[in-house]
Symmetry: C2
Subunit: 527 residues, 2 copies
């Protein structure tokens, strides 16, 4: 049941007087529930509870944490129709998407549960002592990952489940041993509260410390700012705009004690289409890309917003085919009036630049909050010299750049800002021939896709979801997959520590049976 209140640890609380509602973009009306924004005092209470919870939670065993994570998953499933209906009413997204995203969220929680129950993720390393080494004895050193402390997670507008309240950031932080305070996204506050209630119920059922989790409502920037500045907060996870992510990064960097901000931000996901591939697969590529550009009304951080080719008949034909295909697709609803306003404004800014041509623009009437898909094209030289055209237009929009030659194509790639993904559309021999282009592309992105589309982020250990700035604020970590846990931990060493006092992960007898690096060799043997 939605109350509109904040969860300060396990308690519902609404001491403030600033309120807001969520919006149903399909019906173009406000939803009924009223949400009360967290007060400064409530924020401090949530952080104080998290600091206290951290003292004990960081010593909980992997098995205990696994039970907690799996119970969160169970409780989310238990929300059943209420969750799905609330999700749809707050996003305009179809039920199938809601259920798919719920499945992804559940899958993430269960895969972290598996990871932490097994235990090898702590990267335990042991170097045994050599007491008679000359000139000095070698001490006994044992290292493992330990949690950073309370983590603040900002919910994402476009993934109310998988990247929000109990999404990847929260699941990874709880797995690592960090209490989590969620700054709920105002566009789906109801979905957020329901999921928060599931986490709180799971925490209570499985004996987690009070304050392991809080969920704070907020429609402005103040709650988030206070959280990021709070001395008790040790790291931040964010998915959203470059402006928002950078503002949080700057706040965190300016603290007396700077803390890491893992912001996964904008990306235009360049797609390089080489001539032979275009010659052989022009129409099917056009169909595939028309569909990828409009998938989820283009509201994915991996949306292909930039297509790069070398000018010529094949590329011209592709532009024509893409234009024909994309206008066949029925426009769909965006998440919120603010999002469609931003889409229209950013698109307007792009298409009114000099020497840019609109080649496809869905021009029939569309319902309120529905987005018209648009494709533009421009010469390589123009694109190269106009940074406005490099900016993300969040929505069903893409620009096709016609480069003079391979050199200009390489030059453009080298000048691009950091990106989540890069895609190469090529025949195999062509890919070899254009190896300099592939190399330049690799240097600007976190993931390279071959003859596919960038939309669709598989949740698996080998996924990198991140990339050079501004795709993310810290390219050294992925935001998706089990290794995203590395964002919330630090290495820690015990020197000459008595075996009985060591954590289980580092004891001689290896009671957990985990894989460890022992004197430089990986093994699950005891010592």
């Amino acid at each position: 049941m939605i109350t509109g209140k904040n969860y300060i640890g396990n308690n519902l609380s609404s001491r403030g007087n600033k309120t807001y509602k969520t919006f149903n973009p399909l019906l173009n009306i406000e939803n009924e529930h009223i949400y009360t924004e967290a007060t400064s005092e409530e924020i401090n209470n949530a952080v104080d509870l998290a600091i206290e919870a951290f003292k004990t939670y960081r010593t909980y065993s992997g098995k205990q944490k696994a039970v907690f994570l799996n119970t969160i998953a169970d409780e989310i499933l238990d929300l059943d129709d209420e969750l799905i209906k609330t999700y749809c009413s707050e996003t305009g997204l179809p039920e199938g998407r809601a259920k798919g995203e719920r499945g992804r969220t559940i899958g993430q929680l269960r895969s972290f549960a598996e990871l932490v129950a097994e235990g090898s993720w702590v990267e335990a390393s042991i170097d045994t002592a050599i007491p008679d080494r000359e000139p000095a004895p070698k001490p006994n050193l044992r290292k493992m990952s330990i949690p950073l402390g309370p983590v603040v997670v900002f919910g994402a507008s476009n993934f109310p489940l998988a990247y929000s309240t109990a999404g990847g950031d929260t699941a990874a932080a709880l797995t690592a041993g960090c209490p989590v305070i969620v700054k709920s996204h105002p566009m789906h506050a109801g979905t957020g509260e329901l999921v928060a209630s599931a986490i709180v119920k799971a925490a209570q059922k499985t004996g987690m410390p009070k304050g392991i989790f809080s969920n704070l409502n907020s429609s402005g920037i103040e709650v988030g700012e206070q959280l990021v500045k709070h001395h008790g907060v040790k790291a931040v996870g964010f998915t959203g705009s470059i402006r928002g992510g950078r503002a949080l990064y700057d706040l965190a960097a300016q603290r007396d004690e700077p803390i890491p901000v893992f912001a996964e931000m904008g990306s235009i996901n360049p797609v390089v289409m080489l001539p032979e591939a275009l010659q052989n697969r022009n129409e099917s590529l056009a169909k595939t890309y028309a569909s990828s550009i409009t998938l989820g009304t283009g509201q994915f951080c991996t949306n292909p917003g930039l297509i790069l080719g070398i000018k010529g008949e094949e590329l011209s034909a592709f532009i024509q085919n893409l234009s024909n295909e994309i206008v066949k697709i029925e426009p769909s609803c965006m998440l919120h009036p603010n999002i469609i306003d931003a889409y229209e404004n950013n698109k307007q800014k792009a298409i009114t630049q000099q020497n840019i041509s609109v080649v496809a623009d869905y021009d029939s009437d569309v319902k309120t909050n529905y987005a018209r898909q648009t494709v533009t094209t421009v010469k390589g030289e123009i694109f190269l010299n106009n940074p406005t055209l490099h900016q993300e237009v969040f929505g069903p929009y893409s620009i096709v750049v016609q480069c003079e030659d391979a050199n200009q194509l390489e030059q453009i790639i080298t000048k691009l800002e950091g990106q989540l993904t890069g895609t190469l559309i090529a025949e195999n021999e062509e890919a070899l021939k254009y190896s300099k282009i592939v190399s330049a592309l690799q240097n600007r992105v976190g993931r390279l896709i071959y003859n596919g589309v960038p939309t669709g982020v598989e949740v698996c250990p080998s996924m990198t979801h991140g990339g050079p700035y501004p795709a993310s604020t810290d390219s050294r970590f992925t935001a998706v997959g089990i290794h995203s846990i590395k964002r919330w931990v630090r290495p820690f060493s015990f020197q000459d520590w008595p075996n009985a006092l060591l954590p289980e992960e580092l004891k001689n007898e290896n009671p957990l049976g985990i894989i460890r690096l022992v004197n430089g060799k990986q093994t699950s043997e005891k010592i």
Copy 2:
């Protein structure tokens, strides 16, 4: 042979007109050579060369990089007496220390060579495709670590070899595949140039790209600032003061594209001495700590600058014993007049705080640039409320805090800034009894030592040299040991990439025979 010039890639260059000399603190005279500071143009040249070198160097095989690293080690050894004499003349440190530090430097280079020749360090991960998965096919994803790009390394005043020109940061960055530009430390510019010449010779002998390494002279802050702000630089390594490290961190965070700064900075390395241990080992602990406080004239970042105990007879006796022991030790020379000036000033600031007592102060005359070791004591409450007393006094200085009880001890630990190390002096049962103190200490440090001293940083995989801010700017990485390579790399994924075009590390046949995570299982088998 020392020329006083910069290495811009493989070329000696001295286009500037700002010059300086190094100083021999033992003789209290300037050394003969004149060093020319790098100009703005030389700095840009060095970075441009590094950007160009990165394009090819990042594709070099592990075996090629291993040969390069081992050749650097060989060339450094080949410098022989000239290096040792220059080192001693620029630091006032004894020959034994110079040779020891050279051994450590060589050892680091060779262990990185071994790491990169073996190859498993890239943390390769492979998830194979499931084309018939419902509702959507699973793509083939393969992940590994790739280098960030050109890295700037700032030499450290107190480790002219092991943490400077070819020290841990440089060795790790070159291993990762990153070109390195060293901002040479002005106090040991001659040592720096000699080591740089060894690296350049090794680069030429082993066919490394031009610009893989540069060494820039500088006596002020301008060269470093320009380097950190340069768009071509992708990460920074620094060892030194909190003020210096924080200034670089701030510059890097304010860039359009922020970059990581790994600054290993100040630490007072709290040592907790529990009552029973003090009762049983009072005199030997006093001897051990007198020696640890004065080791290397206290010029170690792991120097024990803070000893915490619970007030009582044992602690009073320890203070007396420590005072007696420490004044028996012959004072020694500090690295530079600037360093001894800072030591005297910081010590003066500390001992003139209210309610602090000086209990040992070497009061005989000492030679110029020699440091008088000093021990002070203060009540827990005074220490708790005076942040000045929490600041590092770099040199042979330590303060013993007499806490009211275990609660106050825990309170003090909780209030401490982040530290490289924490040490527990205890009997085994005592350690168990004081588990809350151990837990609080763990939360403030990167390494916990049991019944030992914090000085001495073993180079091995299980070492964590780093810790919560301000011990380092990024507690998630160690600056010492093979895992310090993780600072200079980012994860990168290939999706559905043809086997033939994949790097060796990710090919089906596993030609390097490295350990990989394949569908969630660690194996060195092929696919």
